[in-house]
Amino acid sequence: MSSSKIPPLTYKVVAECSVSKARAGLMTLRHSEVRTPVFMPVGTQGTLKGILPDQLIELDCQILLGNTYHLGLRPGIETLQKAGGLHNFMGWPRAILTDSGGFQMVSLLQLAEIDERGVNFRSPFDQSECMLTPEHSMQIQNAIGADIMMQLDDVVKTTTTGPRVEEAMERTIRWVDRCISAHARNDDQSLFPIVQGGLDIPLRERCVFALMERQVRGFAVGGLSGGESKHDFWRMVDVCTDHLPKEKPRYLMGVGFAADLVVCVALGIDMFDCVFPTRTARFGCALVDGGQLNLKQQKYKNDMTPIDVDCGCNTCKRYTRSYLHHIATNENVSCSLLSIHNVAFQLRLMNSMREAIQRDEFPQFVRDFMDRHFVGEPIPTWIREALAAVNIELPEDAVQPTEEQEKRTEKSR
């Protein structure tokens, strides 16, 4: 690793939307330059489901996400150290971000218990009791060697209310200090703290202010995208970006649906990740401007057009919906083909937002996108409200939303 004086992360805002909080930036990491806003595909176990690193580079993917919990179990910290880190191990020359492992433990393991020391859990392989402390998370993430790493945070369900939310927020702040102390490679890797505070605006604000006192190079917004109401969701994002420093990147964890990405970029978020594009690919679904196509449906059987005629990915250049209909979920290669398209879709969406911000035409981009995305159905109220909060007004819907439709879009997360 380089021992030069250049910090392992520099971030520069290159353009700002004159209307909303959207911004285009350039983040320079040890392994890659990253143009923001950016979507980071999730390569949980050191691979992005069925896609070769060379194919990701061809898609111009600049940064991947790896999961500390999975990588700590397999191949394990020792092997990763011997390999010289995850970049070498998986043959990926560009940037990587790792999570802390805490979220996986709480979401995947029913037996996880959290106390002041850390997250206590049973190993899924040998049932032994393990404790993931902030120090241990740093140790694994230092071995993985990702360009950006996350603090261990105290994760509560987004729907939790009461004193537990405040306790989790306060503990997250105490843990970030333990993470900062334990972080052994600050010259190579940048540690992001995570804003917690549930769906409570004052708690979120307190957390942001406390974290801003720490010496860090960027911030994550966590504890969202877990089934909470979208009306709460956007307000939490909005309050965080209101206070977070403009000169540092902001990462909204676990968000990746197209409409959410557009709204949250307008609210001033720079980085996103989500398993959705690659997971939905495995079930035969392809992302398009209007949502997603379930290619298993009979109507695609004889459809001799590509998934998206305007998409330049290798899947759209060569394969028809008809062929994909026949092989989806049957042949392994369909998983790769649809993942490639879906990642290409996400990256293209981010790229076009970035370009619109640079031309200072972002509000119009948002209006055009929502028009394409919600065809024949009303734009959800929360999206109107969120965009109005950053001065982007959407035209009236031709049809008024029925109560049922409103409920459905609410649930569609």
């Binding site: 070769l52 070498n88 060569r318 062929y323 392994n332």
Partner: protein
């Protein structure tokens, strides 16, 4: 389809050129690319281009593609375009050489077709209608190939008789189908391991008017899948030789199946021209990287590297030292072992890239050695790999792979 023999040597095989339509010539002995559902197994079209940019003969199989027939009837461009591999030539066969074809289902006048959805039955007329929808460059005639080294004399005789009846209809319909006007028919030769039955099958083909078919496909020696890797040379070679002696030189001879590299060489020595990549696939699907040597040297080699072996957990070296494939130049044994442990789809993708690269190299080496009249030397090298005994090239089903990844759909179903 045109086939030109460039050179024949009694003891070291024959070199030929296969020209299908107006495309460039394919040199024989030729390795066809086996496909599943029309795609090279595990590989997207662009991933396959990282293995080879040369023109290929795609081996498409009805048992993995029959559900596409209706869509293909509406397709007006070449079949290879539909499967995302434009510019390549296509051969349509019935059975997937990668998987064991179940026995039975040979009711009168129908041929069983074992697909993902179960058993379908096709009459010769239905078969020809289906082939017409695919409109492949080359296709095989309908045959009963449900025979193996253990088949009874009665079963073998039935396979020959049924094939004759099927083929009488195929020959008659071949000229009538508008969509097959530019397709070449391959005459199937069946008859198990019985010289009399084989001769009868050949005789039936040779009785047809000139131009009825453009080549031979030798079937009925095995029922596909891993069983082909266990065939005994002593049993197989005499009967193949018996067939080849009766076939005219100017027609190509195809022999589908996952024969071992050694058996493939012995078949080439005797004059078989076209093989497929099912052996490379079977190895990859069982987490084996091909490591045998086909270039004369003095070092000992093993047939495979087993990626499920815990001993390679921290071997940060390529699958095969000196190999220039994408998997070997950019990834390590340790990484692919990790992909096996985590049931990740990239594992078989990288193994398929390596195995196809290796096997294509093997076939190039075979052609060069025939040109130099040194095939026997190559066979000796592949047989011993500089060790004291014949190398075991058989592939056994890897129980660890099957139980853990549940194969096939398992890779897709494996959550997060």
């Amino acid at each position: 389809m045109k086939f030109v023999i460039k050179s024949i040597s009694k003891n070291s095989g024959r070199l030929g050129q296969l020209r299908i339509k107006e495309s460039q010539e394919l040199a024989t002995p030729l390795l066809m690319q086996t496909t599943k559902g029309g795609s090279i197994p595990y590989l997207t079209a662009d991933a396959f281009e990282m293995v080879s940019n040369e023109q290929q003969l795609l081996q498409l199989t009805l048992s993995t593609m029959d559900q596409m027939a209706e869509s293909l009837a509406l397709w007006t461009r070449p079949l290879s375009d539909y499967v995302g591999l434009p510019g390549h030539n296509t051969v349509l066969m019935i059975r997937d050489p990668c998987e064991t074809t179940p026995a039975g289902g040979n009711d009168r006048d129908v041929m069983p077709l074992f697909t993902r959805r179960g058993k379908e039955s096709l009459t010769a007329t239905q078969y020809m209608e289906m082939v017409a929808k695919f409109a492949p460059d080359v296709y095989q005639g309908l045959c009963d190939a449900d025979t193996n080294p253990e088949s009874t004399k009665k079963r073998v005789q039935k396979s020959v008789d049924r094939t004759e009846r099927f083929m009488n209809e195929c020959y008659a319909l071949h000229g009538k189908e508008q969509r097959l006007a530019n397709s070449t028919l391959l005459a199937p030769i069946v008859g198990g391991y019985n010289t009399f039955a084989r001769t009868q099958s050949i005789k039936h083909a040779k009785e047809q008017p000139a131009g009825s078919y453009g080549g031979y496909i030798l079937e009925g020696f095995h029922t596909n899948g891993l069983a082909a890797t266990t065939l005994s040379a002593a049993q197989l070679l005499p009967i193949v030789e018996h067939c080849l002696q009766q076939l005219e030189d100017d027609k190509p001879r195809l022999m589908p199946g996952a024969f071992t590299p050694l058996l493939t060489l012995e078949l080439i020595r005797r004059g078989v021209d076209v093989f497929d990549t099912s052996y490379a696939y079977c190895a990859a699907a069982n987490y084996k990287a091909l490591t045998f040597s086909y270039t004369k040297d003095a070092v000992q080699h093993a047939a495979f590297l087993d990626l499920t072996d815990d001993e390679i957990k921290e071997q940060f070296t390529p699958l095969l030292s000196g190999c220039t494939c994408l998997a070997c130049s950019k990834h390590t044994r340790a990484y692919i072992h990790h992909l096996y442990k985590t049931h990740e789809l990239l594992g078989p993708i990288l193994l398929m890239i390596h195995n196809l690269h290796h096997y294509l190299g093997f076939f190039a080496a075979i052609r060069s050695s025939i040109a130099a009249d040194q095939l026997p030397e190559l066979i000796e090298h592949v047989r011993l790999q500089n060790t004291d005994a014949e190398i075991d090239y058989r592939i056994e089903a890897n129980a660890k792979v099957i139980s853990k990844a549940a194969m096939g759909k398992g890779f897709i179903a494996a959550a997060v």
